[in-house]
C-alpha cells in the first residue's frame, strides 16, 4: 500500500506564501524527491484568482480594501474563489504516471482526485456529488471548486471547501459577470453556493472536515496518509517563489 505524506503547512495571514508553497510541492514531487502528498491549509480573507483571469475584471477592489481582503493569483486555471478561515483548502500532488490517474486528461484528474473529498463529505452526512467541470455540488449548490494542472512531471489537483465561510463577504468582493449568472436563474453568487455548516445544520470545524477527507482519501484510493513535513528543498523553493513571483503585484494583479 502506498503511503501519502500529509502536510498541514500554512501561512494563514500570508496568502502569497501559501500559494508559493502550493507551487513548490508539486515541483519537487515531480522530480521524484518527495512522495505523493496531500496538503491542507487556510487563508484569512483572500480572493484567489485563476492564472488566466484579469484581477481588474473579476475583483471588486474597493470592497477588498473595505473588508481587508487580499488578492493573489494561483498557477492553475479556473475561476476566482474567496477564502477565509472557514474555508478549507486541500492540494494533491502525484508524480505523472501515478496509477490513480494514468492518463493526461485534466477532466479525469478533477473527477478522480475530487473523489476523496466527496467521500469525506459524505461521511459527514453531506450529499456531495461531482459536478463537471470542476465542482462539488450539494443539491445544485456549489460547496467546493477545484483546479489543477499537469506540469513539472506532476499531476496536481487542488480545491477549496466552504465549511463555515462568511458568504456575505464573498458576494461583495467578487464581480460575477452577468453572463455567468444568466443560465442559472439566480441573482447572485451567494445564492448558488452553500457551506458544510449550512448543509449539516450544525457547527462544524475545518479540522473535522479535514479529518473526514483524510479518511475519504484512504478508503477511496487505498492508500495510507501519514503526517510529514516539507523538505528543506521545498521550503527553499517556496521562499524563492514567494520572493520572485507570489509577493509581486505584476504576478497577482496584471493583466
Amino acid at each position: 500500500m502506498e503511503t501519502w505524506r500529509l502536510v498541514d503547512v500554512e501561512y494563514r495571514d500570508n496568502p502569497f506564501m501559501n500559494l508559493a508553497v502550493e507551487e513548490a510541492i508539486p515541483r519537487v514531487v515531480g522530480e521524484g524527491k518527495s512522495p505523493s502528498t496531500v496538503r491542507f491549509w487556510h487563508n484569512s480573507n483572500t480572493i484567489v484568482i485563476g492564472c488566466f483571469q484579469s484581477a481588474r475584471l473579476e475583483v471588486n477592489m474597493e470592497a477588498c480594501k473595505e473588508t481587508k481582503t487580499e488578492i493573489v493569483r494561483r498557477f492553475t486555471g479556473g475561476g476566482a474563489v474567496y477564502h477565509d478561515n472557514g474555508n478549507l483548502n486541500y492540494a494533491i500532488s502525484l508524480r505523472k504516471g501515478h496509477p490513480l490517474v494514468p492518463g493526461q486528461n485534466l477532466q479525469s484528474v478533477f473527477e478522480k482526485l475530487s473523489e476523496g473529498s466527496i467521500q469525506g463529505l459524505r461521511k459527514l452526512g453531506v450529499k456531495a456529488e461531482f459536478q463537471p467541470v470542476n465542482d462539488i455540488h450539494v443539491d445544485g449548490k456549489k460547496v467546493s471548486g477545484a483546479a489543477g494542472s499537469i506540469r513539472w512531471n506532476t499531476i496536481f489537483h487542488h480545491g477549496c471547501i466552504l465549511v463555515n465561510s462568511d458568504l456575505s463577504i464573498l458576494g461583495k468582493v467578487l464581480n460575477v459577470p452577468r453572463v455567468k449568472l444568466e443560465d442559472r436563474h439566480v441573482a447572485s453568487v451567494q445564492k448558488r453556493v452553500t457551506t458544510v455548516r449550512d448543509e449539516l445544520g450544525r457547527d462544524v470545524s475545518t479540522r473535522e472536515v479535514r479529518d473526514a477527507i483524510v479518511d475519504g482519501i484512504e478508503s477511496c484510493y487505498g492508500v495510507g496518509v501519514e503526517p510529514g513535513v516539507l523538505t528543506k528543498e521545498e521550503l527553499g523553493l517556496a521562499e524563492e517563489l514567494y520572493q520572485t513571483k507570489y509577493s509581486r503585484l505584476e504576478w497577482n494583479l496584471e493583466p
Binding site: 484579469s54 492553475t76 475561476g79 477532466q107
Partner: protein
C-alpha cells in the same frame, strides 16, 4: 519642431480613426467564461488579451496563442485555421474551452 508636431498629430488622428477596441464576454457551453479585449485596425487584430475561468494546459500556451493572433484578419475562416493549428501544433489541452469557443469569443468582440 513644427514638422514633428504635425507628424504626432497625424499619428494620433490615424490612431483614433482606424483603431478600435473590441470587447466580448463569451460563455462557453458548460459555463466557462472567455473574456476578449482586442485592438483592431482595419479588420486586423493588432493585439489581443484573452482572460477567463477556463483551463488550458500548458498554461503558458495562452500567451503563445495571443501572439499568434497578432496581425490576423478578424474573420472566421482565418481565425479557425490559426486556432486549430495552435491546438495541433502545441498539443495544448483546453478544459471548459475549445478551439471553437476561442473563435466565437473573438468574433463576438464588439466596439
Amino acid at each position: 519642431m513644427g514638422f514633428e508636431l504635425k507628424t504626432e498629430l497625424l499619428h494620433s488622428i490615424s490612431a483614433t480613426k482606424l483603431e478600435r477596441l473590441r470587447f466580448a464576454d463569451y460563455k462557453a457551453p458548460g459555463g466557462k467564461l472567455v473574456r476578449v479585449r482586442l485592438r483592431e485596425e482595419q479588420g486586423v487584430i493588432r493585439s489581443i488579451k484573452i482572460t477567463g475561468d477556463f483551463f488550458l494546459i500548458p498554461e503558458d500556451s495562452l500567451g503563445k496563442l495571443e501572439k499568434m493572433l497578432e496581425d490576423v484578419p478578424l474573420r472566421e475562416a482565418e481565425l479557425r485555421l490559426l486556432i486549430d493549428r495552435f491546438f495541433r501544433g502545441t498539443g495544448a489541452q483546453g478544459l471548459g474551452v475549445s478551439s471553437d469557443d476561442f473563435v466565437k469569443a473573438i468574433l463576438a468582440a464588439e466596439v
